[in-house]
Amino acid sequence: MALPAYIDASTGAITDGEAWVAIASAEPDSANVQFVSTDDGQVGDFSQYMDLKIVGYVRSLYSGVSTSLYLNLNNDTGSNYAQQYLYGSGAAVASGSVASTTYAYAGWIAGNTATANIFSAFTVDLFDINSGKYKSVIAQSADDRDGAGYVALFANTWQSQAAITEIDLTGVGVTLLAGTRIDLFGVLPRMVA
């Protein structure tokens, strides 16, 4: 396991470094954004983090006003994901759950017919990513389109005990529009006696 960034490699002393470490950023104009652990003991090595956090601002070329942004881990496209969601749209509120599906939800994103310059915001938190537990993934999504759209919360579980080493975000059947920006952060623990 890589030495955590809050430990000085030369002295072994704990430092007061940033607990959130900027790992990578993507400004894609393709259908898929992929983050892969570098497994080299450097900043991009997922094995040193307790959690991961993704922050995104996204629009797509989907032919309608809004589509979904899926998340897959370790390139697993099997039926190993479960979701519980809660959303509001105007005065309507709804919730639902899906078991044994092939993706987690990161959010809903504006499509090509949404008003120009409207992008959708989302955050995703991935917890205890190097544990032998099933991985818990929580997302918030703001697909606000000026009088229409959704605000949504998602609780996802990836039913795998593997450490997370790859994250794929995919606009469903569409290309993410230029101007989209997605940032990945590593969240460090601080083990104390």
Partner: protein, 172 residues
């Protein structure tokens, strides 16, 4: 100077009735608590309770917005002896690898002129009872938060492998 610092992590190597963060320095602007939880309760589902500074009085209020399968719910409580830190979490009735997770933001926690308001987001997908919960709570006291107590609401233990990390966020 770091903007976000990890203050302490507790990773349970055995079941425990509670987890406490004490002597929290007042040198940050805000706190964030991140959790990954399962409890040892023999019945399904158990929320996580939170208290500040050892206050067991009826000084807490909460709101929760919940999605449980196809049923959205909302509710509130007042004059409680604890607030919520998470919605429902998996228990001993769930498959062994299921843990729930979430985070709690504790804002302006060191300011002694304001009551403390928190917000949280949590979720779990235990097969029979999936939940996502967005909530808030008010601690009706102006003291700086120096101690945080977390415990399973129905009196069981946090299960081995549950994890809790407290972060401090600094301002400019």
């Amino acid at each position: 100077m770091a903007v976000i610092e990890a203050i302490a992590t507790t990773y349970l190597e055995a079941d425990a009735a509670s987890v406490t963060f004490s002597s929290i320095p007042a040198t940050y602007e805000h706190l964030q608590l991140r959790t990954n939880i399962r409890t040892a309760r023999a019945s399904a589902l158990e929320p996580t309770a939170i208290r500040f500074n050892g206050d067991t009085g009826s000084n807490y209020a909460s709101h929760r917005l919940i999605g449980q399968s196809s049923t959205p719910l909302a509710g509130r409580e007042t004059s409680q002896t604890r607030a919520y830190a998470t919605g429902q979490m998996p228990t001993a009735t769930a498959e062994r690898s299921f843990y729930g997770s979430g985070y709690v933001d504790i804002l302006d926690y060191a300011n002694t002129n304001k009551n403390t308001t928190i917000l949280f987001l949590s979720g779990e997908n235990e097969a029979t009872y999936p939940y996502v919960t967005f909530g808030s709570a008010l601690w009706d006291a102006t003291a700086a938060v120096a101690t945080i107590l977390l415990y399973p609401l129905h009196g069981s233990n946090f299960a081995r492998g549950s994890e809790f990390t407290l972060y401090g966020l600094k301002s400019s």
